[in-house]
Point group: C2
Chain length 333, copies 2
């Protein structure tokens, strides 16, 4: 569990895209960020107050979150200087970088001397159990996709926000690095050891109130040969009561796999549902979340209308047009 | 890669069942075992020559393989004494125990001093790639099951033996600890990090001669909620051309999951085939391997005949009645 609120470290980000972790926190948990820390030459801007470390501490910030990708696979000397100073001023550090903070001897030494925490969310910090498949109380909704990076995290976050706004009981359950940094906890599923994957998802979504929904961030796709095992573990460990199928219509092949075409929505619906029923026979597909960011408004609306007609369930771009339809469907279950 | 041949360490095994790793080596790679080492009170017997460490070295043994489960989760002082002496006499050590040899400081010290290797096959020793899904040359056959521990390893080993006897090109590809110790190499798939599972299977079954078959040991089941992600990674990483469906008809529920019934052969056939076609559209189910160890001969034969009639493909208990039918089907592909 990472202590909030955060100061978002944007470093010397070459553009806004490099700071997608910071953007995710700003978009989804704005109250978790008191300000941003930018170095000379930083081209990203979260439209948060620019703060020195001292100012951010005074404003209550507990953790400096690295909200930007690093270049060249190293933590630069310029970054290091800020990180060391942050530890000395009382911040914990949190990072989703491939280079682990814990592998930097100087950071480890200063953290030890100052009693601060180094959170590397890319690697698990918990010894997860093997899944036992026992039915848990409470409800769970899982986002599954035709491919990787089609909007599964944003779909779950959108629905979670809408459910909270309606006074429904809901928790977004992060299963990836960005999601974990946004919310402060979760399971970095792609870094979990094979035997414990489904167990880590059970651990992440424990018994809860009968009317509480875990909105589980999906990973990969049953049709993505590199990562389908991770998706499978989410479907069986998550015991979902509801599935939302996510898709990005303009993609020409599976991400990173030029020889592989995307499956149809029907294929994902049928395959995911069959497999989900092994762990939860009552599971239902409740709708479609379409990432229309590369489509004009008319094209997007026509696509959504076509999906609804063809598949007979609500379809929306939850980030662009809201997730009401999907939440209505969950509420009606 | 573990150096062969082996001396099989049976320790103080309370019965034959505790020595199933040694039994597997004896059954499947008898030439890999020059003899057995038994301590006082050992109740297991592989019907191999009993040898001292010195005699085994003289007979050419390179590695002492721990062929027996340990009791109480510790490596006892009595075992330790033999293991240290083996290192001193020039043996490498190989073990599939949960307690790792490398976590025993005295073994590490002696191995270092004597220049010997400690092989812990329960954990990967390779940095596996992420799967790229690129079609590989050569043929692959994967054993999939209705459940865990229904005979997938024995099926692949039986078929591999029969294929070699016929002069076909075949390699058994181990994906579990016992299989790795039997053959000397493989991937301990259940201990691989999630993102690299499918890649480790690609690594294990690389490009090969067009008429060469990799006989891949299966793991788990698509219908076993604890381990289905591992099975999924085998199906997509393995790119199988052929699937053999394995089953144990007398089992009352999924192994370790009292609330879960076994799927039918039809369900496993259909689900595994659909998923396998994502990575290899030409994949076919070629037959059924039924573990009839808990059935009398009449009952077993009737069961197999019924499967053949119902499903229209060859069915056999490969360990009991031979794997000819299944190998015929592979050869005919």
């Amino acid at each position: 569990m990472i202590e909030t609120p955060y100061l978002l470290f944007l470093g010397d980000a070459p553009d806004g895209l490099a700071a997608k972790v910071a953007q995710g926190i700003k978009d989804w948990r704005p109250k978790n960020a008191v300000g941003q820390f930018r170095m000379e030459g930083c081209k990203a801007d979260m439209r948060l107050p620019d703060m020195t470390l001292e100012e951010a501490r005074a404003a209550g910030a507990k953790t400096l979150v690295i909200g930007v990708a690093n270049r060249g696979g190293i933590i630069s000397a310029a970054w290091k200087k800020v990180l060391v100073q942050a530890l000395e001023e009382g911040f914990d550090l949190a990072s989703g970088l491939h280079n682990l903070l814990r592998d930097e001897p100087d950071l480890v030494a200063v953290a030890k001397a100052t009693g601060r925490q180094l959170h590397d969310v890319r690697v698990p910090s918990v010894q997860y159990p093997i899944a036992n498949g026992v039915k848990r109380s409470g409800k769970r909704c899982l986002a599954v996709g035709t491919d990787c990076s089609v909007g599964k995290m944003y779909t779950a976050l959108c629905m979670d926000r809408e459910m909270k706004a309606r006074g429904m009981k809901s928790s977004f359950r992060a299963t990836g690095q960005t999601g974990i940094l946004i919310t402060g906890d979760g399971v970095p599923l792609d870094a979990v050891i094979a035997d414990f994957m489904a167990g880590s998802v059970e651990w992440l979504t424990p018994d809860n109130d009968a009317d509480h929904w875990d909105m589980i961030e999906g990973q990969g796709s049953l049709f993505h040969v590199s990562y389908s095992g991770v998706t499978m573990a989410l479907i069986h460990g998550g015991q979902p009561d509801a599935l939302v199928v996510c898709h990005e219509p303009t993609r020409e092949h599976m991400r990173g796999l030029p020889g592989y075409k995307l499956p149809s929505l029907e294929q994902v619906r049928d395959m995911a549902l069959q497999l989900a029923k092994v762990a939860n026979p009552a599971c239902q597909v409740i709708g479609y979340a379409i990432n229309t960011q590369h489509m004009g408004d008319d094209e997007a609306q026509a696509y959504l209308a076509d999906v609804e007609t063809r598949l007979g369930l609500p379809a929306t771009d939850p980030y662009r047009y809201g997730s009401d339809k999907l939440v209505d469907a969950l509420a009606a279950l």
